[in-house]
């Protein structure tokens, strides 16, 4: 038995329990302040500006709330002769008119300046095109002087220190593109191209999400964002622009044969092979991606096999049917082949 709590009595125990609960809740809330998907852990200038604006607004709002609550309590509990000044015309004019005007006149230009400096077009920005589809992301890197254009899916790889301009649109319904660590959201609207510019200033792995309800699996429409040093990014881009590698083991060759026989190429493209489908994600280098299913599972042979066999069970409503007719051995070979496409 907790002797200290016993000595405190019921009121003391209640206070202790409340304090512990508050401490636990605060710790839990603070755990969400940094991480791969957090607007409270900015990794770029735009996100930092938005973060500071949020801090100023939140802190200011809290202070004003405390002030008004204090005055309210004073008006209720103070002696009538002491609280009389609260009802004077002067107090009403200052507190109800002058104070809000001064505060809002400061916040408005500040917010406008943040808006002006955020998402500014920048010369020399890396262009990337992203199309939102139910429930995944088609990502295309246009050709530059050294490399051909290539497509990938559910991952955005960017160089640290260089601005990136993402042109976004949607193929079916309205989606919204949001990488909390890098900046604000932008709507993806069918038939219209919107642009968002940001600069990653810290290498690392982050997470982007769809921020506009787009259907049953909206909550499972995420993507990985990988910020690489410029040299590593150039290597990655070189690798992605190349066609898929030839299978070098009999089991992988069998996986490729199954991929061909199963008709996977009618929906998916694997550059360098006859698979040239454009309906689903490009799988040329699917093995190099961190996750599958639009940021849902780590990418390995097991999850790939599970995804192929049970797509509709794992993510009901996606366009890909479940291929439950494969034997376990075939699934391992097929998933192994896909995992080898680095």
């Amino acid at each position: 038995m907790d002797l200290e709590a016993t000595r405190q009595g019921p009121a003391g125990r209640l206070r202790t329990a409340t304090a512990r609960a508050a401490l636990g809740a605060s710790a839990l809330a603070l755990m969400g302040c940094d991480g791969i998907q957090s607007a409270l852990d900015p990794a770029g200038g735009d996100a930092l500006r938005i973060y500071r604006l949020a801090l100023v607004m939140t802190a200011g709002g809290c202070l004003i709330f405390l002030l008004v609550t204090g005055l309210l309590l004073y008006a209720i509990f103070a002696a009538p002769e002491r609280r009389a000044w609260l009802g004077s015309r002067r107090t009403v004019v200052i507190g109800g008119l002058a104070f809000p005007i001064v505060v809002l006149s400061g916040l408005l230009p500040y917010g406008l300046i943040v808006m002006r400096d955020t998402d500014m077009p920048r010369p020399g920005a890396l262009p990337v095109e992203v199309i939102g589809e139910q429930y995944w992301w088609r990502v295309t890197y246009p050709a530059d002087q050294e490399r051909a254009a290539f497509a990938t899916a559910n991952e955005l790889v960017v160089p640290v220190g260089r601005p990136v301009t993402v042109s976004v649109t949607a193929a079916d319904v309205i989606h919204s593109f949001w990488i909390p660590n890098f900046g604000g959201k932008i709507d993806m609207i069918p038939g219209r191209v919107n642009r968002l510019t940001f600069t990653a200033e810290r290498p690392g792995i982050y997470r982007g999400v769809c921020a506009e309800f787009c259907g049953d699996q909206h909550a499972r429409m995420a993507f990985d964002v990988v910020a690489l040093e410029p040299d590593a990014f150039a290597d990655w881009r070189d690798g992605q622009a190349k066609p898929a590698r030839e299978p070098d083991l009999p089991d992988l060759a069998r996986g490729r044969a199954l991929f061909r026989a199963g008709g996977c190429g009618s929906c998916h493209e694997v550059r360098g092979t006859e698979a040239d489908g454009a309906f689903g994600p490009d799988l040329t280098h699917v093995g190099s991606r961190r996750t599958i299913g639009a940021g849902q599972f780590p990418n390995n042979v097991g999850t790939l096999a599970g995804w192929i066999a049970n797509t509709q069970h794992i993510k009901p409503g996606v366009r890909m049917p479940s291929y439950g007719s494969f034997t376990g051995e075939d699934l391992r070979a097929l998933a192994g082949y896909l995992e080898s496409l680095k």
Partner: protein
């Protein structure tokens, strides 16, 4: 309603009317120029969108200031026997005029800070 009363109501609401006209002109001109892809057009040596916003804001500000000034002057001249309705409309006109001045400035401020058609 008598003619005098109609005039009083119009003057009481003059600040709001100036604000409404400013909003309509700013919104319409910006939408039209940006829709026609004329963001780079110039007027009086500055961007056309900014120029329209600044001129409209200045005109609306003057109108609201005049309404405020009229209300304050009338209030000062008013004798103790003035009808309650007259007293109310003059005080309301002063308050509306003052608040409209601030609203007009807030509405014009983005033109100085944000790029047109962004």
């Amino acid at each position: 309603m008598t003619r005098r009363r109609t005039g009083q109501v119009a003057l009481m609401l003059a600040g709001l009317l100036a604000w409404a006209v400013q909003f309509t002109v700013i919104y319409g001109a910006t939408s039209t120029l940006c829709g026609l892809d004329r963001a780079d057009a110039t007027l009086l040596g500055t961007g056309a969108v900014q120029a329209v916003i600044l001129i409209t804001t200045f005109a609306a500000f003057l109108a609201a200031a005049a309404a405020l000034s009229w209300s304050l002057r009338t209030q000062r001249r008013m004798s103790g026997q003035a009808a309650p309705a007259d007293r109310f409309m003059t005080q309301a006109g002063a308050l509306i005029g003052g608040l409209s001045l601030i609203a007009i400035l807030w509405q014009g401020l983005p033109a100085l800070i944000l790029p047109a058609c962004a």
